[in-house]
């Protein structure tokens, strides 16, 4: 955090000054470790074993926060009698279908009930007929003594009982004394008077079991009562100025703005079905139809009427996975003609760069927008495979357009930071030359396409014809007014054009317009709320008048949990939001994240529906039953509880289960993406992890061209321990060649005790660290670490595994720029062996994951 989010880390140092204990868990010793109270080196890819150890410690030592856990989590819920755990099945949960490579989650459900998950894969929900909350929440579905072997608490307890300090040592390379020290510090600093926070960088997601990494941390925090309370929580430290915004208003294939799912071909065939599958009978997602109809009104304007289901039939439908790597693999197979790449550099930053470039070579046309031509724009000119002579530019048929982009100082707009805070940046100067904002590009492209399709009478073109696209044009360059767009995102009423104060004003009758319901109110009263800049010194420590946080300018989500079941603060020290019995409403330092006048003693009647099903002690209002989920009965594709699996390419056999890797992970078994052996590959004996440096930014598009930053960090390097240096004859400042079966790169050697070998299972394991910023153009060049990585992904979110894989390291400059994507595997052998999984999994779900096994036969493109 000190390296990649230095200014955010100031607040960690401030907490330390006030007495907080800082624990840093990282394979490497970094600037964060240098100022932390405890640094715990951990073997890359073993975090669930470590966090699972913490869960086991918390439960066995009775350190969990009983009042919080019983009232605010699903600990007491009873689970189906058909459920079987990884304890019973040697690393698999019940419902595994080895032929399809997928789980059927029906045995994971609560007893007698299927709930709609607040996030994740809602399509796993079996749907009709809808369970009505009032009818199903009754005493016999819960065991508040938490002793029934099939209550969530006991299942969690049993599941993690194997994660002892000894197992943590075996899996993570952490000594039991060190583990105890961390566990004790964490528990001592949690409870009524104290809270602890987890901060992770999104490398945590880059594992084939990445979602479950974060889930494990969430279970720790729920057990300790650290969610929804000041100083608690789990903070995803995101690495881009608006990466949170890119998820909220997603340029992601599976979502519409505000986390509404994209329609799925096989069963969201009309609006009625789409709403049925996605709204929840209880909890806040019962409001789902209001948000969807308001979005359709924002997009299709007067054309959207009740009789045509608000133009729902204009929306395209997805069938299976259309995520980045799935699309690029299709591209490499010449199934995609055109590609827009805006402010992104996949030829460097995405997995298996050579396969990315193979995809680019097989396009008809490519549009790249950036400050300067990046490696993605120039893949045809001087990429490693071109320099090596494997491919010639005159053989590449892709037509390439490079458009220079405007900088943030040359355009108006909002970024959403890692705390969900929208902040407006104002245009300071006009963009130079032909540089234009993406807003300009996409608006003018849309105007041209509307014009091109104007004569058309084909139904396929009606969505474009009716698309609302009138934004005010500013200045000689005809820049669309970003504030106009923000106003549409925030929403307004159609009759009197009144800007909404918040999403509670939205309706499902077509009278309200809102482009993204969670952002509703960011243009409250016609005022650009994200542009508010009241100085920090002139407001409270919560600083509600700086920018605007979604939802409803709330700075801490689920903050009703900061009060006890009676609505009183858990302690004076951790007071944040509470029930005021005189005014009969919730109040506090922040905007309460609850129904403001719902008293703590409210309990829903048997006929309650929608939001009325949320009781006065249900802080987690987005959940169907208002409780935080220690155990996920629905929504995840790889199990209801986190389980330690080894990375796709590991040096170790799984020390906990016979099942080696996440059985539901996504693999791309193809000649241009070969894999190593699942463990102990003699050709690739070392662990590699990639990371960022303080002075550079991701794939380098915003740093490798900036001289000041290139001077600070001029060259690609590989970080190795003195022990590995000796083993491999590596010299500090000299060269090393690092390879996988997919590619080989050269880097300067940095020999440092910051890297430590681990001794596990009787072996000494060496890790190498690789920054991933460099590639062949820019003002500072070097080989790209992602030439080494593979297409392999977490099944829930299709995010790649780049933080733990196996490599070979030899001294000297021995790269011949070989790439599996052009020449085939660097080492000749079988592409995938049966030893990858124990027990064997016949098929990995690529392009068809996420669909309920019995529900669809889609995936025509897979």
């Amino acid at each position: 955090m000190a390296e990649c989010h230095p200014v955010g880390f100031r607040w960690v140092m401030e907490a330390k000054r006030r007495g907080a204990t800082i624990i840093h868990i990282d394979p490497r010793f970094t600037r964060t470790s240098a100022v932390a109270d405890i640094h715990v080196p951990i073997r890359p890819g073993s975090d669930i074993a470590f966090l699972g150890g913490l869960i086991n410690y918390i439960i066995t030592n009775e350190r969990w926060f009983r009042d919080y856990v019983i009232n605010y989590t699903n600990a007491a819920a009873l689970v189906s009698e058909d459920y079987q755990d990884t304890e019973d099945l040697d690393g698999l949960f019940s419902g595994w279908n080895a032929e399809k490579g997928q789980y059927d989650p029906s045995s994971w459900q609560y007893r007698g009930l299927e709930v709609t998950p607040a996030a994740g894969h809602r399509e796993m929900f079996s749907g009709e007929p809808r369970a009505e909350r009032g009818a199903i929440v009754s005493a016999e579905e819960h065991d508040f003594t938490l002793t029934d072997p099939l209550c969530v608490f006991q299942i969690v307890k049993k599941h993690f009982s194997r994660y002892t300090p000894e197992v943590v040592q075996e899996a993570c390379g952490i000594q039991p004394e060190m583990f105890e020290k961390v566990a004790r510090a964490l528990c001592d600093n949690s409870g009524r008077d104290r809270t602890s926070a987890f901060c992770y960088a999104v490398g945590w997601t880059q594992h084939s079991i990445g979602v479950q990494y974060i889930r494990t941390a969430a279970i720790v925090q729920m057990l300790l009562g650290n969610i929804g309370r000041p100083g608690g929580g789990i903070m995803a430290l995101r690495g881009h100025s608006s990466i949170q915004g890119s998820t909220d208003i997603p340029t992601l294939y599976n979502m519409l703005p505000g986390y509404l799912p994209m329609p799925k071909a096989s069963y969201d065939t009309d609006l009625k079905k789409y709403l049925e599958y996605n709204e929840s009978a209880s909890g806040w997602w019962s409001e789902f139809p209001k948000y969807m109809v308001s979005l359709l009104k924002a997009w299709y304007g007067p054309a959207a009427i009740a009789q045509n289901e608000w133009c729902y039939n204009y929306l395209p439908h997805i069938s299976g996975d259309h995520s980045h790597m799935v699309t690029v693999a299709a591209m490499a197979d010449a199934k995609v003609q055109g590609y827009f790449v805006m402010g992104e550099n996949p030829a460097v930053g995405s997995m298996n760069c050579a396969l990315q470039r193979k995809g680019l070579r097989n396009l008809k046309w490519l549009v790249v927008r950036d400050f300067a031509p990046t490696e993605t724009a120039e893949f045809w000119r001087n990429a490693p495979e071109i320099v090596a002579g494997d491919i010639k530019p005159e053989e590449i048929g892709t037509e390439v357009f490079f458009f220079p982009c405007a900088a943030h100082t040359e355009k108006d707009g909002t970024f959403t930071n890692t705390q969900r805070l929208l902040q407006w940046h104002h245009r300071a100067v006009e963009p130079p030359g032909d540089c234009r904002s993406e807003l300009h590009f996409i608006w003018h492209l849309g105007r041209r396409l509307k014009e091109l399709y104007r004569p058309s009478a084909e139904p396929k073109d009606f969505a474009l014809r009716d698309l609302t696209w009138d934004y005010r044009s500013i200045g000689a360059i005809e820049e669309p007014d970003a504030e106009d767009v923000l106003a549409e995102i925030s929403g307004y009423s159609l009759g009197d054009h009144k800007y909404f104060a918040g999403y509670k004003e939205l309706k499902n009758d077509g009278s309200t317009v809102c482009g993204c319901w969670i952002y509703c109110g960011c243009y409250k009263d016609g005022v650009n709320q994200p542009a508010r800049r009241k100085p920090a010194t002139q407001q409270t420590w919560v600083a509600p008048e700086w920018g605007w946080a979604w939802p409803d300018n709330r700075r801490l989500l689920y903050n009703r949990a900061s009060a006890d079941p009676d609505g009183k603060p858990w302690s004076e020290r951790k007071k944040y939001v509470w029930w005021d019995p005189e005014q009969r409403k919730w109040t506090g330092y922040d905007n309460p994240d609850f129904i403001v006048d719902r008293p703590p003693d409210y309990r829903p009647g048997p006929d309650a529906k929608g939001i009325d099903t949320l009781s006065g002690i249900d802080p987690f209002i987005m959940q169907a039953e208002g409780k935080a989920w220690l155990y996920d009965p629905n929504g995840l594709l790889d199990g209801p509880l986190p389980t330690h699996y080894e990375p796709e390419e590991s040096v170790l056999k799984n020390p906990l289960y016979g099942q080696q890797c996440n059985p539901a992970r996504m693999e791309w078994v193809r000649a241009d993406n070969p894999y190593h052996k699942a463990w102990g590959d003699p050709d690739y004996p070392f662990i590699a992890t990639t990371y960022r440096l303080t002075e550079h930014h991701t794939a380098g598009g915003m740093s490798r061209w900036v001289p000041w930053l290139c001077e600070l960090q001029p060259e690609m390097f590989i970080e190795v321990s003195p022990e590995l240096a000796e083993l491999r004859g590596l010299e500090n400042g000299g060269w090393a060649t690092v390879s996988t079966i997919r590619g080989e790169i050269e880097a300067r050697v940095l020999v440092t005790e910051r890297m430590q070998p681990f001794v596990q299972q009787g072996r000494t394991l060496h890790t190498v660290g690789l920054p991933y910023h460099w590639s062949w153009i820019g003002r500072s060049t070097g080989d790209a670490a992602n030439e080494l990585t593979a297409f392999v992904a977490d099944p829930n979110v299709s995010i790649e595994e780049s933080k733990a894989f196996s490599v070979q390291v030899v001294a000297g400059r021995r790269s011949r720029k070989r790439r599996a994507a052009t020449q085939g595997a660097l080492v000749e052998r079988e592409v995938a062996g049966p030893e990858r999984d124990l027990p064997p999994v016949h098929q990995k779900p690529v392009g068809q994951h996420g669909l309920h096994a019995e529900k669809t036969e889609m995936t025509e493109e897979s």
């Binding site: 989010h5 200014v7 955010g8 430290l237 881009h240 608006s242 890119s246 997603p250 340029t251 294939y253 071909a265 096989s266 204009y314 395209p316 069938s319 980045h324 699309t327 003609q337 590609y339 790449v341 805006m342 402010g343 995405s350 400050f371 300067a372 031509p373 590449i396 357009f401 490079f402 220079p404 900088a407 943030h408 100082t409 909002t414 970024f415 959403t416 930071n417 902040q423 104002h426 006009e430 540089c435 993406e438 807003l439 996409i442 608006w443 492209l445 849309g446 399709y453 396929k460 969505a463 970003a482 767009v485 800049r533 920090a536 700086w546 920018g547 930014h697 061209w705 930053l709 979110v797």
Partner: protein
């Protein structure tokens, strides 16, 4: 008065008169030092902004003179950053004003060996034509079993996560209307 001010030009006397015995305070300043001003003091305007690099969201102030950026500094008012910027944030000035920035649209013909400069409007027209042609060629109206698809798999998009929310909104809005579903972002990576 005149005499006093002449005498007090002698630093030692000034130190004594002001009780600045260490000689490290205001009294040690020369006239020149006194008259120095920050290079940003002549700015025509100061524009509120946000750092474009990581997700912390540090406040920036952009100093503008004669339509050009003079400097970019941390914003002390920000409750997030209180005036601080990291090495990358501090280099923002060079990022946005550096000579590396492309000013022209570049075009590479199929099988070509070099870039050509083309006018922006022509390039926009060409891209719109490509989109229409690909979309029309690769349109899928429904699945063979009758499920609606209304889409094209012939076009894809990948966006960086330093784009504005408003930009992402229009990207998603337009591409969805076109039936382009392979819309992705750094957020997936």
């Amino acid at each position: 008065m005149a005499k006093k001010s002449w005498l007090l030009k002698w630093p030692a006397l000034r130190q004594l008169a002001n009780g600045d015995l260490a000689g490290l305070g205001d009294t040690a300043m020369s006239e020149r030092t006194h008259s120095l001003k920050p290079r940003t003091s002549t700015a025509d305007k100061i524009v509120g902004s946000v750092c474009p690099y990581c997700g912390v969201g540090c406040g920036q102030k952009v100093y503008v003179k004669d339509g050009k950026i003079m400097d970019i500094e941390g914003d002390y008012d920000s409750p997030i950053s209180e005036g601080c910027l990291c090495p990358k944030g501090s280099a923002t000035m060079q990022l946005v004003t550096g000579t590396h920035r492309g000013m022209n649209v570049l075009y590479r013909r199929p099988y070509g060996k070099r870039w050509e400069k083309i006018p922006l409007k022509q390039a926009m027209d060409m891209v719109a034509d490509r989109v229409k042609q690909t979309r029309d060629e690769t349109w899928e109206d429904q699945h063979e079993q009758g499920h609606p698809l209304r889409r094209t798999l012939g076009i894809a998009h990948l966006g960086g996560a330093t784009l504005d929310n408003e930009e992402n909104y229009l990207i998603k809005k337009l591409f969805t209307a076109l039936g382009v579903i392979q819309v992705e972002n750094q957020a997936r990576i």
